[in-house]
Assembly symmetry: C2
Homo-oligomer: 494 residues x 2
């Protein structure tokens, strides 16, 4: 998931200056309301070394009344702390009602550096996650606002920052051996951080990844989210009914602070016709062999397609199946739910389509419709689509734990390319049936769909069922990438 | 937990006849409303062999419209079912909105007979529990009413029923080898059933133990609970505000169907003075040795007292500590929370009192105040005390996982004995300070406190931190039992 986050986001100095003051005033005013209403607030900062946690925390507390918050730096365990369950030292630091507790590193150390260094795993690890969950749930149920930020920078950027710190004698002390060790373990850490966020990203205590390459951007994002969360809680207190008052207006920056991943997809990738032809043949041969092998080994496979209208899902699926034995696979086109389907949980119809052992089911659109079209067209409530990220992750966990191979593709094209294809479809009689009024209507909502797709990709690209974004402006390239990804996934399983 | 349930409950034929017809009419009317409002309903029956699941289900469906429910008997896995994740066969049977699905055995087979026979444990077991939880949560969030009943009979009663079935040629076929095997494994099963209920007793899908020694009692209890749950949901639909309308009136049987455990405590137990003196000396010597041993082995111990006013907590604690090294233990009297304590989560002050490694903390009253005095006096909301059972179990899980020994005592006396002690306190000047207006006020609410204590004992007597009910009409007996229980618990840990 972290790997998919667009880390190029930044904010220029002028724009920053323009809005930071307003954000500070807003935060300060909310802090007073929080105090009056006796709302306890917990803000957790985790993140890479040199990602700027300290600086950001300093900026955040600047507008706050110093009598009303505590900053707790969490480091190695004292002797007393070692003699208590790991959450003890945090339970005793939970804020009084009306106060703000800010944690510079937190109980998540247990699932990060302690996990890495002490090899916490298996039952011990899963009960740590459970303990954290019940800790946060108990506090949230008791009225705490809980915000968790992960400050994210790339390995390269981290290296650059360490080098810079080391080159200056007055800052060199800030880089220690441990930092260097963690830097070398970056690629291992990214996996366990992903897992940590997956397992503990609950509606009552959500995680947000903060793109921290640019400190101004990171600051504005954190301020905005803290303000949003406090405002929501204050509104909830002031009038249980009008929970959703004027939040979106009050936080003008909402759209730019959303994490994105589609922005950084390189759509110029192409492949030449000759190479395409030979590779296609090779891959189709290989996938046919694999079809046989998974059949004998009774491994079920699910290949899932999502993507823009006219991004080439149909043609892509055709190339995957062309050479397969039809008794071994099934293509499942997913449209609007029937009345019967609608009268069940939205996942019900997909549970009914789990492949038999040894079979491949190919989904032309999927359960992700819930957080794409159903979300945007209002076919389900906000509460419903919000909880479906977790429900979907749970389902995919159960499937992969059982041994199902899940491969998920998002076929990405840009807006111009879509227009070109729509027009082509309209002009060529044999393709005319492929384009409808609906397609044009959806196109008008491009930005909304893009936002929804970004959120979906970030929230449901898990270690066990990752998304693959397929650069599809060039259909040849897209088809080969899908075939290769499927082949790799099956081979890995075998 | 199951071991603590009073299985002597029954209902005479006349009383049953009087009320069952009314319950049937009510259920039938609610079923129609459920259908109209398109509320999906799931009712799960688990229970011992020969506990009467089949008969009870037949009675339950009698008043229902046959077109509107399905009964699913869950048995061994088919080949297709084996080739899918274990929840698949239940997902596809989830009811349409407005229909009722009744499961005669269910997904819990996974954590019962499959667990026992296939040795499911460790990570596989804990992920089964997680999968079940997320399955039920997804359905509940989607509007399903979920009720889970465990039909409980004693091993002796089960044996009697098997014998009776076998003695009659027309029913002998109903007892098979497997039943006999499970009967022999009764004591092992009771542990894993307790664990199963602990781990999956959620507010959105609660378990209820049905005392099934008497089929009439069991039937009335199930009817009452189904009616209550459906009525609540229907009311919720009809008017989101007045959720709690006239439920208690509509179900007249509410109080008799509560499970109890205190009723069956034998308060006639006594011990003679001479035996008391010699045993007391012996135990006090032993506990002093153990105090030293746990100190060197760094084992923390928590001894927790709850019980009626004047049940002898103070004197009891005195006998435990009399011979101990004061540097090794601390007695923590728990009264009304201070202002500071009140401004935190109610568990906060107890987290602050976790014993250091190797020390003993003795709590004179505990965090269970939440579900006793705070519940009854209305110091917290219904929602708050309801969720605290889970919060408390979570805390005790974390403590015992860390290695803390937790021993919990409920000192039980009867109402007459309390009166005798109150009067004694009033008449003896040196004991006068011990009795206050509050004590008399609480006494007036005896039945409420008894109900709260029963619920507490059943919901929080877990495999890892069980309650011990101490028969305390005779103080000598009570003191020896407490000492012996503490000694056994520490010895077991060592």
């Amino acid at each position: 998931m972290l790997e998919k986050v667009d880390l190029t986001k930044k904010m220029d100095k002028e724009h920053y200056k323009e809005i930071i003051e307003e954000l500070q005033i807003k935060l300060s005013s909310l802090e007073r309301q929080v105090r009056q209403l006796k709302i306890p607030v917990i803000i957790v900062f985790e993140g890479w070394g040199a990602s700027g946690k300290g600086t950001l925390i300093n900026k955040l507390i600047l507008p706050l009344d110093p009598r009303n918050f505590n900053v707790y730096a969490t480091n190695y365990l004292s002797e007393e702390e070692k003699s208590k369950p790991f959450l003890w030292r945090f339970w005793v630091k939970t804020p009084e009602r009306g106060r703000i507790a800010i944690f510079d590193k937190s109980w998540y150390r247990r699932t990060l550096v302690e996990r890495m260094d002490n090899g916490i795993k298996g039952k011990e690890l899963s009960s740590s996650f459970e303990d954290i969950k019940s800790f946060e749930k108990a506090l949230a149920d008791d009225g705490n606002v809980i915000l968790k930020f992960f400050l994210h920078i790339s390995k390269k950027e981290q290296n650059r920052r360490f080098k810079e710190l080391e080159s200056n004698s007055s800052t060199a002390w800030r880089v220690n051996k441990e930092d260097i060790k963690h830097h070398e373990q970056y690629d291992d850490y990214i996996k366990i951080i992903d897992e940590m966020i997956e397992k503990t990203d609950d509606s009552f205590a959500p995680w947000t990844v903060i793109e921290s390459s640019d400190s101004r951007f990171a600051t504005v994002k954190v301020f905005t989210l803290v303000i949003k969360a406090l405002q929501e809680k204050v509104d909830e207190y002031n009038s249980k009914k009008e929970k959703k008052s004027a939040i979106s207006q009050s936080v003008g920056e909402a759209s730019i602070i959303n994490s994105t991943t589609l922005d950084i997809v390189d759509l110029t990738k192409t492949v030449e016709k000759n190479e395409y032809k030979s590779k296609l043949k090779e891959y189709q041969q290989r996938i046919r062999d694999l079809e046989h092998e998974i059949y004998t080994k009774k491994i079920p496979v699910m290949i899932c397609y999502e993507g823009w209208d006219a991004s080439g899902k149909g043609g892509n699926i055709k190339r995957v199946t062309e050479n397969l034995d039809p008794r071994g696979y099934e293509v499942i086109p997913v449209g609007a739910p029937t009345e019967l389907e609608n009268s069940h949980h939205y996942l019900w119809r997909f549970w009914n389509k789990i492949p038999k052992a040894g079979h491949i089911n190919i989904f032309d659109r999927t359960w992700y419709g819930r957080v794409l079209v159903e979300k945007i067209e209002g076919f389900c409530s906000e509460e419903e689509w919000k909880r479906s990220y977790n429900e979907i992750n749970d389902m995919e966990t159960q499937l992969t734990n059982f041994g199902v191979v899940i491969v998920k593709f998002w076929l990405q094209i840009d807006k111009d390319e879509q227009l070109r294809r729509f027009k082509e479809r309209e002009s060529i009689p044999s393709k005319n049936w492929k384009i409808t009024e609906d397609d044009w209507r959806n196109r008008d909502k491009w930005d909304q769909y893009e936002g929804a797709a970004n959120e979906m990709l970030l929230r449901t690209s898990t270690t066990y069922a990752p998304w693959t974004i397929v650069e599809s402006n060039d259909k040849y390239y897209a088809r080969l990438k899908v075939l290769k990804t499927v082949i790799d996934a099956i081979e890995k399983k075998l």
